[in-house]
């Protein structure tokens, strides 16, 4: 399993997500203008949308590379279950995108003038929510694994499934930043993540097996 993570990392894409996130956080204040109150109001939403799109950016490589070089066929005939392969791939994706995004987010939130109480909630919400982004994304990547130029289809499939994560994640941060109680959206976010992690590897493995035929 650790080797799978290594193989994914060797496939590259480590810096891509984080660079994209940085670009969003730097460019939005330039585009919106220096109104500190406006920036503070939109910061939670911008940070979450940026994190979500940064995750999406690296997803189409998740299984496509293994499909092209034949590794996926060989993994399917190997004694480890495909569900385990999917879970390892999703974990590796989270380690190279979700985790760095979470760690970098407070620094970038500074650029967007996120109010003081929001930082803890931002960290918590991203830490709880980004695993769901990786697992849902792995399911989308599994559905499109044999499709040429599947990236576009992947985006269309995955974005609607990302909506609940985005809504609860951003609202947890926004409420936290405004000094309101933010535990409820955070718990709902945790629920989405738990459900996705528990169920989607099985769905993704079934999709891969069907796509290998």
């Amino acid at each position: 399993m650790r080797d799978l993570a290594l193989a994914v990392r060797a496939g590259g894409g480590f810096g891509l997500g984080i660079a994209f996130f940085l670009l969003v956080a730097v460019l939005v204040p330039l585009g919106v203008g220096p109104d500190a109150r406006l920036l503070a109001a939109i910061a939670p939403g911008i940070l979450w949308v940026g994190a979500l799109l940064a995750c999406l950016l690296t997803l189409d490589r998740l299984f496509a590379l293994d499909h092209e070089d034949g590794s996926l066929d060989l993994l399917a005939t190997a004694p480890i279950p495909m569900e385990g392969v999917v879970a390892a791939k999703a974990l590796a994706h989270w380690l190279v995108t979700g985790l760095p995004l979470t760690i970098a987010a407070p620094a970038l939130a500074l650029l967007l003038n996120l109010p003081g109480p929001g930082y803890g909630w931002l960290l918590a919400a991203l830490a709880v929510g980004t695993p769901a982004l990786s697992v849902i994304g792995a399911f989308g990547a599994a559905l499109t694994v044999g499709v040429r130029r599947g990236g576009l289809l992947l985006g269309l499939l995955v974005l609607p499934m990302y909506v609940p994560t985005l809504v609860f994640g951003a609202s947890a941060v926004a409420r936290g930043a405004a000094g309101l109680a933010a535990a409820t959206p955070l718990l709902l976010l945790a629920g989405i993540t738990a459900g996705a992690v528990a169920l989607l590897p099985f769905a993704a493995a079934a999709a891969i097996r069907a796509n290998l035929r």
Binding site: G11, G12, G70, T77, P79, R213
Partner: protein
């Protein structure tokens, strides 16, 4: 470790390509699959490997006994030759035995990145995976593509040693590999009749 195939029909892209295929592959024996392009050699091997369900018929083999080597080598360019083999050994729950580098002359290349190998060297790495997988029945799809004459000889010797150790091999190839005593199965008689022709016969 006997592979038995009974009345097997397989499809590619939803269209039947082979029907009524049956044979038995005993330990220590090799079977060469021949036939023109498009007859369904790859489809048959993928069906046997369990990558796609058969349309009809059955494949019986002991669990975890089959190793499939297809057109694509499953080699990661960013890893070295040794790391690639160690990865596949770990996937099969084994440790990498350095002896696996020997038969296909990979030892001098062990610390090179797989992305820097030539096509033939890559193929040799892909075939060396069979050694680290530790499976008894090898399903080989055009194993000698892009290999030079010396490497084909090395690989034939490797397969012969595998057979002598009680393994077996099913090889789809256009090239005679020089496997002594290998039986030949021509797939042409098993070509599936096109359903469209049936349709025309029935309604035409």
């Amino acid at each position: 470790m006997v592979l038995t195939v009974t009345d097997l029909s397989c499809t590619r892209g939803g269209i039947p390509v082979l029907e009524g295929v049956g044979f038995t592959l005993a330990p220590g024996s090799a079977l060469m699959l021949t036939g023109p392009n498009g007859i369904g050699k790859t489809t048959l091997l993928r069906t046997l490997a369990g990558l796609q369900p058969p349309l009809r018929g059955s494949v019986s083999a002991p669990p975890d006994s089959l190793a499939y080597a297809g057109h694509a080598d499953g080699v990661k360019s960013a890893l070295t030759v040794r790391e690639n083999l160690a990865f596949w050994a770990a996937v099969h729950g084994r440790r990498l035995d350095e002896a696996a580098l020997g038969p296909l002359r990979l030892a001098p290349l062990a610390d090179r990145l797989a992305g820097e190998l030539s096509a033939g060297q890559r193929r040799r790495l892909g075939l060396a995976r069979l050694l680290v997988a530790g499976r008894r029945i090898w399903l080989l799809d055009e194993p000698t593509v892009s290999l030079d004459a010396a490497s084909v000889g090395d690989f034939a010797a490797l397969v012969t040693a595998h057979l002598a150790a009680g393994g077996s091999a099913l090889v789809a190839s256009h090239v005679a590999m020089g496997l002594a005593g290998a039986a030949v199965l021509d797939l042409l008689p098993f070509r599936a009749r096109a359903p469209v022709e049936d349709f025309e016969v029935a309604f035409g």
